[in-house]
């Protein structure tokens, strides 16, 4: 009904956080890593990693919003969500947002978290390998 609104809300928050983090990151981090055939590279800034989450949340929400338009759950006139005009349906919509919507946002964030762990491990491995190659 309106489950995509939860990932949208998260995307707004993470986009603001990304801007704040990026403004604090002046220069690429001093740590250098050997990135295989691409030679020396910097450690990936956290703002770039946050951008991965933003892209997943915004992109996924956009396609999900399209699905809601397809099913007639979003309309171009007020209150824009068909379920919001009927109090009985509105409570179902809110319950769906609390279950499906929150689960969607949580799963996307969890997958991003796993990606962070993997990239951090790869960065550490590359940084550790660097002194050996010199």
């Amino acid at each position: 009904m309106a489950c995509f609104l939860v990932p949208v809300a998260e995307a707004v928050v993470t986009t603001v956080i990304t801007k704040a983090v990026k403004s604090r990151e002046t220069e690429p981090e001093a740590l250098k890593a050997d990135t295989g055939s691409f030679g020396m590279g910097s450690k990936i800034p956290f703002s770039r990693k946050l951008k991965w989450l933003n892209n997943m949340l915004w992109g996924g929400s956009a396609l999900l919003a399209f699905e809601h338009v397809w099913h007639g759950e979003i309309v171009p006139w007020f209150p824009f969500l068909t379920a919001a005009s009927d109090p009985a349906e509105a409570s179902v919509m809110i319950s769906e947002m609390a279950t499906v919507g929150v689960s969607m946002a949580a799963l996307v964030t969890a997958v991003w978290g796993v990606m962070l762990l993997v990239t951090n491990a790869m960065e550490k491995k590359a940084l550790r390998a660097q002194p050996d190659s010199n």
């Binding site: 892209n55 997943m56 915004w58 992109g59 929400s61 499906v100 969607m104 996307v108």
Partner: protein, 104 residues
């Protein structure tokens, strides 16, 4: 069917990104994030639907299947349009700029 269509789109885009675009010149990565994000969200939707319908979830009516497949294809097309707009606006290779400001 919508989930399946988006997952296939995500896999194809990821393969294209891995094979051709390590420097991100065509910004295929944006498509990958978009399709993977949508796939994860539709996966959650599918899990909730399965919990509600059980085995019936796997035997949808042909009309519903066709409708879902059309929705999946339309979602993939919308994703491609969004990617194209971002590509033309960011113009990483300067093609749009060169076409607009070339001297005759």
């Amino acid at each position: 069917m919508t989930l399946l269509t988006t997952v296939f789109a995500a896999i194809i885009c990821t393969i294209i990104w891995y094979k051709n675009d390590p420097k991100n010149e065509m910004k295929v990565g944006i498509l990958c994030w978009m399709y993977w994000g949508a796939s994860l969200m539709w996966l959650v939707d599918a899990i909730f639907e399965y919990v509600e319908l059980h085995a019936e979830y796997f035997t949808p009516a042909p009309v519903d299947m066709l409708n879902d497949f059309c929705l999946g294809l339309s979602a993939v097309a919308l994703g491609l349009v969004i990617w194209l707009v971002i590509l033309l606006i960011k113009d990483p290779n300067g093609v749009v700029k060169a076409a607009l400001f070339k001297k005759k």
